[in-house]
């Protein structure tokens, strides 16, 4: 369901007061969004983007930023333990394996693996168990099978066992095997540019902007900084933030943060911006798709180009704002809203 009609016909004065929000571009008077919190997180490699489910990648990056651990270390653990939640092995989605390990990050819930999670595998967040499990996604439940809880819990475990200063010791504590440490670091190196190395905590002097890599200057930098700061927030139809977004709501508010007013829906945004060929796409440009209920000429989905082939978007109900690769399937084209009218 899309909102083609920004304003109903016949509303006269009422309509005139709604339209300006969509039409006016100016650079003054709007508080610009500060750069995303310093994260020291390297960018994912094409392999990571292809192999790691988007939700897991987002969760790894969020937990990495939150705990000051390179996200790819968490991804390395997730890869080795459960193929990033894609393994059908016992204990990943329910129960436990023969050692008593459970969930995508394979925390011990009893047996040989001990009870590192703490309490029942799924318990109310208000329950104090003394384990490492936390309610990372703040849904009120601490669930070992929920990557939204298991991944930040793993980050917390690593922090409490020496990371990021001694990541190898922390990994060894996680799973008492030198081979395990080597394997996790090898996957980490494959998943991130320059990966596998311990990074500075989020407040450290080496801290630089994260998943987007160095952000471009000017408008595009502000747009991407805003979009990056929204990573992990849920999709909500009709929402323009600050707690949730739909695809075009995220795009509109990212550009508003950069001092540029653009229309509200993806169909309107496609018609508004100056279209550009794929060969000239730059970070901060918009990429459009037919989407769930649009067409190639009236696209129903839009994302912000992070770099060619990768975008930040609010995908759909049940998914969070995330970094994800895009292809040509259903792709309508690209626009540069900042160049509209020029």
């Amino acid at each position: 369901m899309t909102g083609h009609g920004a304003v109903r016909a016949g509303l006269a004065a009422a309509a005139l007061l709604v339209l300006p929000v969509l039409l006016i571009a100016a650079a003054t008077g709007i508080a610009t969004q500060q750069a995303a919190a310093c994260t020291a997180q390297p960018a994912p490699t094409p392999l990571a983007l292809a192999a790691i489910p988007a939700r897991y990648l987002t969760l790894y990056q969020q937990a990495g930023r939150q705990y000051g651990i390179a996200w790819e270390i968490l991804a390395g653990i997730g890869e080795v333990e459960s193929n990033n939640g894609q393994s059908g092995a016992p204990g990943v989605y329910s129960g436990a394996n023969s050692a008593g390990a459970a969930g995508p990050m394979q925390f011990g819930i009893g047996g040989a693996a001990g009870d590192t999670w703490g309490g029942a595998p799924v318990h109310p967040a208000s329950e104090q168990t003394g384990g490492y499990g936390i309610d990372g996604d703040h849904d009120g439940v601490t669930d070992v099978y929920d990557p939204g809880d298991a991944i930040p819990s793993a980050a917390r475990y690593l922090i409490l066992h020496g990371a990021p200063a001694d990541i190898e010791a922390a990994l060894f504590a996680y799973n008492h095997s030198e081979a395990y440490v080597t394997l996790v670091l090898a996957w980490a190196a494959r998943y991130a540019d320059g990966g596998g190395q311990a990074v500075a905590a989020a407040t450290g002097p080496a801290c630089t902007p994260g998943a987007a890599g160095p952000l471009p200057a000017g408008i595009a930098g502000k747009v991407l900084a805003y979009a990056e700061a929204q990573l992990g927030k849920p999709y909500q139809w009709g929402a323009t933030g600050p707690a949730s977004f739909d695809c075009s709501g995220l795009v509109m508010m990212a550009y508003r943060a950069a001092g540029i007013a653009i229309p509200r829906t993806s169909q309107q945004q496609w018609a508004y911006g100056r279209q550009i060929p794929a060969s000239r796409v730059r970070p901060g440009d918009l990429v459009f798709f037919a989407g769930a209920d649009g067409t190639l000429t009236a696209p129903g989905h839009v994302g912000i180009v992070l770099r060619p082939g990768v975008m930040i978007d609010a995908p759909a109900t049940g998914q969070d704002v995330q970094v994800q690769p895009y292809g040509t399937d259903g792709l309508t084209g690209y626009t540069d809203p900042a160049a509209s009218g020029t």
Binding site: P20, G140, D146, A261
Partner: protein, 183 residues
């Protein structure tokens, strides 16, 4: 993964509690509806909801956000006789975030949007509904009847996002309620 948000049924109950519910007497005016439920005990279904699900915004918070959304929408859609863009903006200013103020200020500063001789219009809020709740944020839809001095009344519905700031609730954004993308 469990949802971060209350189930839709809970939102519906909250909306009923904030604005008036079928199980309760519905006062005559939106303002009265909001005030009437300040005692918070007149809708058994909503009481049950409060007991069953922890909400990201308190019931009193939802009421406050709904009241602000109603006041804002009425002022946003009303153009009094002889009113100026500056006056319109001044009435909205105390209710909005600094970012939204910047957007509205440009609206007020665009002459084409304020044509000479445009008839005055008065908006009356008919309904406020909760669309979404999150920690520190409430999205409401506000339906208003807009009556022009010389013409029939029309109905419009706005999506108004309210956020919790240091000084209390503030309007963060206003959009047509029909605007959105499925993805």
């Amino acid at each position: 993964m469990a949802s971060r948000r209350p189930p839709p049924a809970i939102l519906a109950m909250l909306a009923a509690t904030a604005i008036g519910c079928a199980a309760c007497a519905i006062p005559a005016t939106p303002a009265a509806r909001l005030a009437r439920h300040d005692t918070a005990s007149q809708c058994p279904a909503a009481t049950a909801a409060r007991q069953a699900v922890p909400l990201p915004v308190s019931l009193s918070g939802v009421r406050g956000a709904a009241a602000l959304a109603a006041r804002f929408a009425a002022a946003y859609l009303t153009r009094p006789a002889g009113g100026s863009p500056a006056g319109w903006l001044a009435r909205l200013a105390p209710m909005v975030t600094s970012q939204l103020y910047g957007t509205l200020a440009r609206t007020a500063a665009t002459p084409a949007l304020w044509p000479t001789g445009q008839p005055p219009a008065t908006a009356a809020v008919a309904a406020v509904r909760v669309r979404d709740l999150a920690a520190g944020s409430v999205i409401l839809t506000v339906t208003a009847r807009v009556r022009q001095a010389a013409g029939a009344a029309t109905t419009t519905t706005l999506a108004v996002t309210i956020v919790q700031g240091a000084a209390g609730w503030a309007v963060y954004d206003v959009e047509p309620a029909s605007a959105g993308n499925t993805g």
